[in-house]
């Protein structure tokens, strides 16, 4: 009987813990079409209702980010996305006018990161990307890269002290993510839009090994790549808490919010 009571108490505390676990959403966009459909007040409400205590927000164009900074300054950690509209993900690296756009914004606003940007393989060698990397160095900004492993290598080659958040962890297998994390101490890995790290709330063994080897390097993110997906933020936070509760508490808290705070050099949450 006592065992049953103890088990019940354990389940209750796990459930309460899962409910309370704050989330730092490290991959979120509030682009022009989202601004059109969902006002910043609504976005702030969604984030608060979802228990998202902090969010690394970027947008194409930058107006959405600035709107959210005004409406939810305690939540939003602004990142500068080098796109004037969402349609530039595949062409921006060949567009020299992007540099002027980014430099102008850097003069006018405060940011913690540049990204999320899309760049693969030799894209990193283009003058636009090289200048973006240089700007990150000059302004001490994190680079949030939706890239393959080769592009990540090239970023670190250009700027060995760079801090890089690898979006979607490159959509590569956990073994490959671990290789990259071993290779670069300033590389962090977001898990946005990946569903392979858990199976119905249970962390799969390959990912568990990755989280245990690098408890300080992973983080969660929703990726609101289409405006409708803002209505997924709450579901995402809930499902994230579910699989995180399958990890030791300290690792779960790190992935949920502490790693993003450390990566962005923010004041740690209590």
């Amino acid at each position: 009987m006592l065992r049953l009571i103890a088990l019940f108490s354990l389940l209750l505390s796990a459930s309460a813990y899962a409910e309370e676990l704050p989330i730092f959403d490290s991959h979120i966009h509030y682009s022009h079409d989202a601004v059109e459909f969902l006002p910043p007040e609504k976005i702030a409400e969604i984030l608060k209702k979802s228990g998202v205590k902090k969010a690394l927000v970027s947008s194409s164009d930058d107006r959405g980010t600035q709107l959210l900074v005004k409406h939810a300054p305690d939540i939003v950690v602004p990142a500068l996305r080098p796109y004037r509209k969402r349609g530039e993900t595949g062409s921006w690296m060949h567009d020299p006018t992007i540099i002027e756009y980014v430099e102008d914004l850097l003069k006018r606003h405060k940011y913690h990161a540049i990204g999320e940007f899309h760049a693969f393989d030799e894209d990193i060698e283009t003058p636009v990307l090289q200048r973006i990397i240089q700007l990150a160095k000059e302004h001490d900004l994190l680079l949030h890269a939706h890239s393959d492993a080769d592009a990540v290598d090239r970023i670190f080659k250009a700027y060995p002290e760079a801090r890089v958040l690898w979006a979607h962890s490159g959509f590569v297998r956990p073994e490959r993510v671990r290789e990259m994390l071993r290779k670069y101490k300033n590389l962090w890995a977001d898990l946005a839009f990946r569903s392979d790290h858990d199976d119905n709330g249970k962390v799969v063994p390959q990912w568990r090994e990755a989280f245990e080897e690098f408890p300080d390097r992973f983080m969660v993110g929703t990726d609101t790549f289409a405006p409708e997906r803002w209505l997924y933020v709450e579901d995402h936070a809930r499902t994230s808490r579910a699989w995180l509760s399958d990890l030791p508490k300290d690792i779960a808290e790190k992935i949920a919010f502490r790693n993003a705070e450390t990566m962005l050099r923010l004041q740690p949450s209590q």
Binding site: K42, R86, T89, H168, F193, S195, D223, F225, P227, E228
Partner: protein, 381 residues
């Protein structure tokens, strides 16, 4: 295999020769022909549904037909299944969104070849046709009935009650409403299994190619042939619309917005999986009549992925000309609108999780018309 290869090669050469004679004639490559042949023969062999013990039973089909067309089953006694799935309107209603007790959020799917589905409904919230047949009956926004009402109607109608007893071996059990409702769903499913589209011009073309019958293949319109070359070639439409029923039976984000209004979205497959997992009426459940639980692995194995949010069923393309308007919310009125949507698809709305399935084709006006001609050829006319 060698014989088939020679026949196909002959067809390719024939088409090439035709192309030489007239530069406007299409050329289907060997790879395109290989893909095309996988879209038949039609109709596919009929197999009874092992989860439904009255599947294929003529008495059950007759009972199911009566139930399907009976408005008495609905809450207000005015709406039957056929109100939205009208046989004279391609087994749909030809409205952008269905109309139940209120305007619905989604387009009414046609019932042509419905038995071939793996998942049912735009969100796949059921894995079998009998459960799917019950769903609209009980939905307050659709037929707005209760299990008690439906069973009472059947029990109170001497003809329906007798037909029920004939099929299921006992009178409708008013003490076990769920069981009786499931049985009624199985009878309605037995009827809907008989709704099969006929052979189309495409089927004749496909079979002619399979036999190497140049003369028969030449009867297929030139525009449709050019459209086929796009469908099985550059357009890669067959990636999702594959097999004899022109669907992979799964779900895709087709770049169609899914806001329902301010602050509301249609979560699509993501919500459908939640409902499926919560349902007792699945192939893995006690109501399946199949001791082997064939197909139950699907519901046991499926789980909601991030990508499922805003995904909707890849529909069959058969008899498309009878089932306008198109897409999950009926937002595209014509086949040309559909082709132009994919031709200029906004890839920024889609996520590149691995290989990007959809990409803008930038078709010119003639190519749009050709692809429409091909799609029209999938209908029985």
């Amino acid at each position: 295999m060698r014989v088939a290869g020679r026949l196909l090669a002959l067809v390719v050469l024939t088409l090439l020769a035709t192309g030489t004679a007239n530069s406007a004639e299409p050329v289907l490559s060997q790879s395109q022909i290989d893909k095309l042949l996988l879209h038949g023969p039609w109709p596919v062999q009929w197999d009874r549904d092992p989860s439904n013990r009255v599947s294929g039973n003529p008495n059950a089909i007759a009972l199911g037909r009566d139930l399907f067309f009976s408005p008495k089953l609905s809450g207000n006694g005015k709406m039957s299944c056929a109100t939205c799935h009208h046989p004279g309107r391609g087994w749909t209603d030809r409205l952008p969104q269905g109309l139940g007790t209120t305007k619905l959020d989604r387009n009414t799917q046609s019932l042509f070849n419905v038995r071939l589905n793996r998942w049912f409904g735009w969100d796949g919230q059921n894995d079998n046709l009998w459960a799917q047949s019950i769903r609209p009956l009980l939905d307050p926004k659709e037929m707005n009935a209760s299990a008690g009402h439906v069973v009472k109607v059947v029990n109170g109608d001497p003809e329906l009650a007798e037909a029920y007893e004939n099929v299921f071996g006992a009178a409708p059990d008013t003490a076990n409403l769920e069981l009786t409702l499931v049985n009624l769903g199985k009878a309605m499913a037995a009827f809907q299994e008989t709704i099969v589209s006929g052979r189309s011009p495409f089927d004749a073309f496909r079979d002619a190619l399979a036999k190497g019958d140049e003369k028969a293949a030449s009867a297929y319109p030139a525009a449709a042939k050019r459209g086929a070359a796009l469908f099985f070639g550059r357009g890669n439409c067959t990636f999702c619309h594959t097999g004899p029923n022109f669907t992979n039976g799964e779900f895709q984000d087709a770049g169609v917005p899914y806001f329902l209004g301010p602050g509301r979205v249609d979560k699509g497959r993501y919500a459908g999986i939640g409902k499926l997992k919560a349902s007792k009426l699945t192939l893995a459940g006690d109501y399946s009549d199949d001791p082997a639980k064939t197909g139950a692995w699907k519901v046991r194995g499926v789980r909601a992925l991030h990508r499922n949010f805003g995904e909707f069923k890849v529909p069959s393309l058969r008899n498309l000309t009878q089932t306008a308007p198109y897409m999950h919310n009926g937002s595209l009125a014509t086949l040309e609108d559909v082709v132009r949507h994919y031709s200029e698809i906004d890839v920024e709305r889609l996520h590149a999780d691995g290989t990007r399935v959809l990409a803008p084709l930038h078709l010119n006006d003639r190519e749009v018309k050709d692809l429409v001609a091909f799609l029209e050829s999938l209908s029985t006319g």
